[in-house]
Symmetry: C2
Subunit: 228 residues, 2 copies
């Protein structure tokens, strides 16, 4: 109720979902309270960071005891906007788009796959995971009818910017891009990307460093962070 002066750092926002996953697991195990130390271990970060991150949500812990799992779960869900469902549209129903459409994990976490669209006439009309593929030209209607705010781009790279523009024009202001292409969106929209080739290249960089060890100092470990 009382408005604290909160502006959650981006790095913290990126970690909240990881804490959330840990908390869901704890809730399933009927754990009542959890210490920052143990939560840190589950999330793969350090305890001070957990406490600082959680402090941005509010003072929900109890000194000497820890955090109430259920209560923290509720507050975190609320903060992340997970008290409501966020219908998602997948654009580009090829190899990757179909795999995503078939994945039940999105729906179960509050991101139901509301629509599938493609530009290829031979794909339109087909059913994938019980959903009919519709033409991308129908995007404005689909987005409006189903209140879609999030779009996933799974088209070839050369189509990605055009698809992004169409999504934005249809009122979709959160975009997750799978295509290996840089796309531009206005500051009023959010964009995140998943580029597997980039990930592999980062791995190969450090792998090569390790292979060439002995040339001088030891190579540092990258230890997954950026890739969340």
């Amino acid at each position: 109720m009382a408005d604290r002066p909160r502006r959650i750092p981006e790095a913290t926002v990126a970690r909240l979902p990881v804490y959330l996953r840990s908390l869901l697991q704890l809730a399933g195990e009927k754990t009542g309270t959890i210490s920052s130390e143990r939560l840190a271990e589950m999330a793969g970060v350090n305890a001070a960071k957990v406490r600082k991150d959680l402090s941005y949500l509010g003072s929900y812990g109890t000194r000497g005891v820890g955090y109430d799992v259920e209560y923290l779960l509720f507050q975190m869900s609320r903060e992340l906007g997970l008290t409501q469902d966020w219908p998602v549209v997948i654009v580009g129903i090829g190899n990757m788009g179909q795999a995503l459409a078939n994945y039940p994990g999105f729906t179960s976490r509050g991101f139901p796959i509301a629509a599938l669209v493609d530009a290829d006439a031979s794909k339109v009309g087909h059913e994938v995971h019980g959903k009919r593929v519709r033409h991308i030209d129908e995007l404005p209607d689909i987005a409006a009818e189903q209140h879609i705010a999030i779009g996933i781009i799974a088209t070839p790279a050369h189509a990605a910017q055009d698809v992004a523009d169409r999504l934005l024009a249809a009122g979709v202001t959160s975009i997750l891009n799978f295509a290996p292409a840089v796309i531009n969106v206005p500051a009023t929209a959010s964009l995140r990307k998943v580029d597997l080739a980039v990930e592999l290249q980062i791995l190969s960089f450090y792998q090569q460093q390790r292979d060439n060890e002995g040339d001088g100092a030891a190579a540092p470990a990258p230890s997954a962070d950026a890739a969340g």
Copy 2:
């Protein structure tokens, strides 16, 4: 030849593949030289950052002119370890694992899919994209024979840590994890993760902030960075 005192920052390493992709495009367009300004635009970053990032590779630019595309391409490929192929093993040939196995983009970028393994006896023996699925118990032999240094985990979350341990035991020291689970690896290995549910939750956080605009100050834009 001359060894400069280089230790490339992690943030820079994560951007090099993006520059590389831009350079490949330019090379295809027969562009001779490129300025940091234009490369920055293509990569979606700021020009000063491009220059600083490239300076870690060496002084490969020419003042008043820019960077020679071919030469920079070569130097960057060498730095990222892309002058050789890096055979990859995919563990968990389900929905996602099959989509990855069918993707030609990995092989074309120097990451040939060398092996597919699964624990499910009913999947072993089947062919996916012309490759026979083998049992995960064979990992040590497979990794050694095919000189595999990179593994992709596409199993359910509960199996991820065990699979990671098996990969490490088989000598695979670079891991890309798709499963929504925190896994631990020794400092002598590299780990990167791709967690789509986390990405969607980050998007929903900022989406909610925008939806609730007017409660106070305007929400900041996340602008894809962490997710690369």
